[in-house]
Symmetry: C2
Subunit: 158 residues, 2 copies
């Protein structure tokens, strides 16, 4: 790699960090309203349920890296808030399935939609050429970065 390349790299790292702050801002704004209703750990539960569907208690607890006892009480709170419901498993009577209520789904959808809209708004402030360039660039970036695991995102409450 030439010196010029290295210089460009440092620059690109800085630019990427700046852009990442902007994107984090979008994410943060999209969840902030939901956080008036539920806590961050609670919201994570809703996210998992929204993306993976209804799930057995123990499995869900494992996904959240939580001990079942802890988790049971978190679910208590989500149930009393009306965000999820406990239903009996068709498999076995000792299993309990957790399912989003329509209220819970609406909360998650609202966040997703808010995020989508804000990104669309940002893109609309760019020229078509810029958008096209961004599209290509982000595809290769995402490819190089790889998908983060759910466990990793969990740290940030996502």
């Amino acid at each position: 790699m030439s010196l010029d390349d290295e210089y460009a790299d440092r620059n690109t790292v800085a630019t990427t960090l700046t852009a990442s702050r902007a994107l984090l801002g979008v994410v943060a704004r999209s969840v902030s309203k939901a956080l008036e209703s539920v806590s961050m750990p609670q919201f994570r539960v809703l996210i998992v349920l929204a993306s993976s569907g209804p799930m057995r208690m123990g499995l869900l607890a494992e996904r959240m890296n939580a001990v079942p006892s802890t988790f049971s009480r978190s679910i208590d709170r989500l149930v009393s808030g009306g965000w999820v419901e406990r239903i009996e498993s068709p498999e076995s009577r000792r299993e309990v399935i957790i399912r989003l209520t329509s209220l819970g789904r609406a909360l998650v959808d609202d966040v997703t939609e808010r995020r989508r809209q804000e990104i669309a708004a940002i893109l609309s402030r760019m020229s078509s050429d810029e958008r096209a360039a961004l599209q290509g660039a982000l595809v290769s970036f995402a490819e190089a970065a790889g998908e983060p695991t759910a466990e990793e995102l969990l740290v940030l409450g996502l």
Copy 2:
């Protein structure tokens, strides 16, 4: 805007969301080690101190959107962990200044550096052409997005 443009937009929104997940992964990984030592709200305090320098108790509390009484006890915990220290103000003897210890600074620096390195690693997996394209695209994106306020990022613990 033409129909083609709208189609491209939807695509770009999706791509941007994917890229934002990748970036969130980077951020999450960079802080996860620090979160073994301090809590997220505590880490936010360290971040603010690192970027804005030592600060008066009340001011810092205001920045964190916290009531002084709450905040005083958060600082207690950070002090006993050795991350920050209370020093007397040269201005007035009733003011208390909070300052990062070298330990606290090291913690923040480590996270920052980790993040920087990982982004550099991702960029190194892209071709020079791709990097160059990304650089330009992200500049225009960041411009269109604008800088998020500290208050917004605070939601995510950043």
